[in-house]
Symmetry: C2
């Protein structure tokens, strides 16, 4: 069986078009700080009329293959996680086959995995399992998470975002799965769903979804702790992992979640909670599970107590989710990308625990163990290829009015046929794919922005503006 299977390489793409949350707050007539402090968000990327989940995934897959110099023939499995449906039958994976067909490689297993924001995690597990299975043929697996999160006008709108992430899977990886330390919680709930098929917007019960998220978090953490204790013969606490990465619909929920784990450690009498903290948690020890999810005082005390650990173990993961917004399936992995970007030189030997949540609901907490790796599959290679700072710096801020205009246009375009886009790709970095046309048979056509080779060096996408 292949050993040390995990993540060899990653790349991320997010649209350069974005809107500042502070500006959106003012435009929406929301109270000051509602989006920036209340939600904890800084900025939000969105697809303009020339981008969608297919174009973003074409962009990020092409980029990953080129930058790590992977021959497309070396991919044996390709899995996509997405909840942005542009066709109810034809998978996004089949669009990506264009990249591989032209190299003569059509023998690539895998399709799309779907359940809200969890599809990327399902795709990732499927790819890792394939490499460990008897059907593995020695080639790489490739996972793509791609989503455009948009909401109807109203309180959920600032929790949008958009991105695509590509993740290369194989043995002897710098980012390995500790696959025995894993707990899932799956249940039938209607917290966020998309039953209105003609509309791109979901039906959301924000309060219920937050409770479902926290309940799933508790349940997954219990399972993970139980399995860890069974295998390692000692209790697990927050001190046993160096970083915690959360699916991030908005940053405030990540703060609450980590604090909730500390409360779990208190209830479990685990070593991460000192005597002072125990005293402060004590008044809440008699709350029922349901009560504890609603108790604002507990929330406040937990967050206060968790603050130092949050700053050390979570804060480095929050950059992209705060700057780009909710990327649905890509959200958790954008948080993980943020950690690598911020801390790569200190990550060797570290354990990172990730929590993936998809409404409906499906959730898994799982563990990764990191090492530096070897070129071209090393943490520092990943950092230089992803080039996060440059991508963030070269974005184009839209005023809220123009963002709303784009949303209105996209409401008409969603599920429509027989239109051409402006074909204006001038805001997109070189090498970016974009939508040019949807014909009378709903067939979608894409073009690629030429790569300015004179301006393109060593792993960095130079976007020329």
């Amino acid at each position: 069986m292949a050993k040390n299977v995990g993540i060899l390489a990653m790349d991320i793409y997010f649209p350069p078009t974005c809107v500042q949350q502070e500006a959106l707050e003012a435009h929406d007539g929301a109270s000051k700080g509602k989006y920036t402090i209340g939600l904890g968000q800084d900025c939000m990327a969105f697809c303009s009329e020339v981008e969608d989940v297919v174009s973003m995934s074409l962009t990020v897959v092409t980029s990953l293959l080129e930058k790590y110099k992977i021959d497309p023939k070396q991919i044996g499995r390709l899995e996509v996680g997405s909840e942005t449906v542009i066709d109810k039958s034809k998978s996004i994976k089949t669009f990506l086959m264009q990249i591989f067909e032209k190299c003569g490689n059509t023998d690539i297993e895998g399709v799309d995995s779907s359940n809200a924001c969890y599809g990327g995690t399902a795709a990732l597990f499927n790819c890792v399992n394939w490499v460990e299975s008897s059907s593995w043929d020695g080639r790489y697996g490739l996972v793509v998470c791609t989503d455009s999160a948009v909401y109807a006008e109203g309180p959920a709108r600032p929790t949008g975002g958009a991105a695509a992430i590509a993740i290369l899977i194989g043995p002897d990886a710098p980012i390995c799965f500790e696959s025995k330390f894993r707990g899932s919680h799956m249940s039938h709930v209607y917290d966020f769903y998309k039953p209105n098929l003609a509309s791109e917007y979901p039906v959301v019960d924000g309060k219920l979804s937050q409770t479902c998220y926290l309940m799933a978090l508790d349940s997954c953490y219990k399972h993970l702790c139980r399995k860890y204790e069974k295998l390692e013969g000692k209790q697990f606490s927050l001190l046993d992992a160096d970083y915690f990465v959360f699916h991030s619909p908005y940053n405030k929920l990540v703060q609450k979640s980590f604090a909730r784990l500390l409360f779990n450690d208190f209830v479990r009498n685990a070593s991460s909670v000192d005597e002072t903290a125990k005293e402060k948690f004590k008044p809440f020890s008699t709350l029922s599970g349901d009560e504890s999810y609603q108790n604002r005082d507990l929330e406040k005390v937990s967050q206060q107590l968790a603050k130092p650990l949050y700053n050390a173990k979570v804060q480095p993961t929050t950059l992209l989710p705060k700057q780009v917004g909710n990327m649905y399936t890509a959200s958790l992995y954008a948080a993980f990308v943020s950690l690598i970007h911020n801390k790569h030189s200190e990550l060797a030997g570290k354990r990172v625990v990730l929590f993936s949540y998809g409404s409906g609901s499906t959730a898994t907490m799982f563990s990764l163990k990191l090492s530096e790796g070897q070129h071209p599959f090393s943490l520092s290679d990943i950092v230089s290829v992803m080039n996060v700072a440059e991508k963030l710096n070269s974005r184009h801020e839209f005023p809220p009015e123009k963002f709303v205009e784009v949303m209105k246009l996209m409401e008409h375009r969603y599920g429509a046929k027989d239109f051409v886009t402006s074909k204006d790709s001038s805001l997109l970095p070189p090498g970016t794919y974009y939508l040019t046309e949807v014909d009378s048979m709903y067939r979608r056509f894409y073009a690629k922005r030429p790569v300015d080779t004179t301006n393109c060096e060593n792993g960095s996408i130079s976007n020329g503006h």
Copy 2:
């Protein structure tokens, strides 16, 4: 690593409501034999207004767990393959979690896999890989294929159907995967797709889809032969497998497909083609690939030459696809179920090659090796649990007018909210789940027809009419 991983148990459910193809032919004013001989279909099942992909999958999963006496806590992974979208975010898997939650089991990995009719195969491979991976926890995997295939009025309408199949996965199985003998063909085509999000009906280019199917078949067969020859050191031909099972949109395509494989063997100079056959194929040996797909004479000659092998190696797999229709993701596995139903006592030691196709397109040809197995996981247990003959015999034939009426009603119901169904479950077998209501928030509610325990014996669903 777990050994001999494969299928331990199966069950199938299809709606008891059906329409005879001969009657439909007459009703549609089609020429006599167009559906029965032209398409090769006998009868077509369809969901009445109280059934859908969720109710069918609830029915079949409950039935499998009960009949094989599987404790729901013993399921560690649950994967659904479907292309029938009733929600663009919430997976069908989360609906099925209701069965497991009430037993206290929420730690079940897996979501929905989607690409047209191929999603079930993707789900199956994912489950098998999980059992062979380091993340396997010793429990069973469960795969569910569930679809309702409906078409707008016109030539494609008789190619509908509906069913759900549940497949239990684990080690030491009577139906094992020969996972090294596997070839896939994935490409970007628009042969059949569902871009009109508000409609349940697909956009279909029937002629293109047939060519894409046959091209994928050729490509998969080439890959499989190449891999077999590399590992076994000898050429593969149709004689090296005992049965061939095809995804079956309509039976005629299955006939064409098997004949096409014989033509492949001729081109490859393989042992299944004797001198007489070689002579007859010879005039077509200079055709280009593209020409060969369109050549009606070649089609005719191939089918004639393949007839004896077809009768022996394919015909036993065609019962349910001809009687129930296209079941999309369940179609291939209903054909496999037909084989077990028809030949179970002769299957030990036999090799069965399956071809899965999903438009868009994704396709895999793979190989299974069968043994009798041990109670409760034996081929004869599977036959008695599935009880195919009884299920077929106790159906309710609708006149075409009433079938068309149901289709019209369902056009309005698809994607709609705020309605109650007739709640008339009298035509459904005891133990069948059915839809009662979709509320103003699009939430779906189901009930279960009581099981008449006095009338229920040894693995058979007695449906009391």
